[in-house]
Symmetry: C2
Subunit: 313 residues, 2 copies
């Protein structure tokens, strides 16, 4: 049997399956009448404005690198004190001119003050751990499939969350793109002056061991390609290897015309449930054996660019 | 509370936890008497020569890039026909001068003939699918924890494997670093002329949908940093972006002095079981809440460099 399809057709077949890995969704193809459940692309194509919400600029960070902008959404509902501290650090320009000092393959990139001497201004050097919080008060869109690590997993707003109804606790999950506050052996020694981003297989063993405070919603491809450091933990061994941070800003402090206006799919909607089902069982032509299951970290919450102005229309 | 530990101490604390992410293990620290279960580093430090096996050069590929060598171990026990075909393609220099044409963030890099015109010599253009095989005849070192996707998971030799005792079938798992044969919509349209490597969260929905035929045991950090393509599926949109493959060789065809001699930890040993337990429950000082579970794709099988000559001593 010969390969007869041109590369374009092959690409299109894969594209349907993988569309949602891209943070900004391209215009979906026209949807013909089909005799199968809808694909993720088809579900998103049929979504309404109410299915999406704009990022809150007060709760969004722009990490500026020479190669572009990384957009981070913060999670004050899980780490209020860390988020407040990072917002203060960002507003007082603590991070400007610091550097990515570590890139460990299949694990994390991390930025910090290489010298450890920069003053933190009115922020705090350390903040008490916020590894978990009460489940009560959270509206969890649960995944129906078993999770290796936690009794329940799902989404709260657009964040991946694990929960234990037995203990009444909930915590953010270390999926790809999640942002956390590095710490020393003391659980209360973090605070946000060093931040890491997951760039590989979800390191779920870190869950409840370190404070997660946000996630990258755009620009992961700028962080994931950082040259891997050759020192312990992927640390760069020579200062010349450091990758400078141009700045880290709160979006609301950036002139409106310079903002990256993004919307995320609401995870408390029927549209999201349909999208989730399409991730559990893929019906694109390429797939032959639908998994029938999905891991929490294999459900990237769709993000899309919006017209300048940032509101849903 | 202030950060008082110097960066070195912090690095050391992290290092113990993460040591095994590095393909070649550095010399372990001296192990003091401790009143806790051993860490992974301590277990490996106490391993014997019999716990390790050398890679079979007849079954090992060297992908040479301008930036270095990627070592791939093949899995003929799961994909005998694909492996035989790729060995033939490599021996006839099919891959030399081809290119990485695709790098999709949190997904795969893939190399191929950009023009699709290179003859395959005595190899086959396509090979019938080898998505799964009988469980019978395999010795599976089972993980005790639930897996989201499969009834059972574990290791066969050093490969991550899923199994369904109900159907009597087993298949390789799409963990980080696994190597597969790209295909078109037809299940039998692969064959190894295009190969992809997982560079992100395990895309388990691909399990049993595409033929896996090996895994990267060294040099992943050369592939994972490829600039992400901006076309559909992460394809490079301009030929100038292609990353050339210098060559792809069977290790046994490379002069002994130029080989990369590696050993992998045998997964059918008590030492591996102890290592697995140390991955399930981390006892390094940094960790406060041992997970008590582990995902199949969070158990990187240790690999170490050996002295020239390649045999265990």
């Amino acid at each position: 049997m010969k390969l007869t399809r041109p590369a374009g057709a092959r690409a299109a077949a894969f594209a349907a399956a993988l569309l949602c890995a891209a943070p900004a969704l391209p215009a979906p193809p026209a949807t013909p009448a089909v005799h199968r459940p809808p694909t993720a692309a088809e579900i998103l194509a049929g979504s309404t404005a109410a299915d999406w919400r704009a990022l809150d600029p007060q709760n969004t960070l722009y990490l500026e690198l020479a190669t572009g902008r990384v957009v981070i959404e913060l999670a004050p509902q899980f780490a209020p004190n860390h988020v407040a501290n990072v917002l203060t650090l960002a507003r007082e320009k603590y991070f400007d001119g610091l550097a990515i000092v570590r890139a460990q393959d299949n694990y994390v990139v991390q930025w910090a003050d290489p010298d450890g001497k920069r003053p933190v201004g009115t922020a705090h050097r350390t903040v008490a751990a916020e590894f978990e919080r009460p489940l009560r008060g959270l509206s969890l869109t649960r995944l129906p499939d078993p999770d290796t690590y936690a009794p329940e997993v799902g989404f709260v707003e657009d964040f991946p969350v694990a929960a234990d109804p037995g203990t009444g606790r909930a915590w953010l999950v270390h999926c790809y793109g999640m942002v956390g506050a590095g710490r020393d052996n003391d659980v209360d020694s973090g605070g946000g002056t060093e931040l890491y981003v997951v760039i590989g297989q979800a390191p779920r063993h870190l869950d409840r061991n370190v404070t997660l405070l946000g996630r990258v919603v755009s620009g992961m491809e700028l962080l994931s390609v950082m040259p891997r450091g050759t020192g312990p933990l992927g640390r760069y061994e020579r200062p010349q290897q450091y990758v400078p941070l141009t700045s880290l800003r709160v979006a609301s402090d950036v002139p409106a015309a310079q903002r990256t206006n993004l919307e995320v799919l609401r995870t408390d909607t029927p549209t999201f449930l349909a999208y989730l089902e399409a991730r559990r069982n893929r019906h694109e032509e390429w797939f032959k054996v639908p998994a029938g299951r999905v891991d929490i970290c294999n459900v990237p919450v769709p993000v899309r660019a919006v017209a300048s102005g940032g509101s849903t229309r």
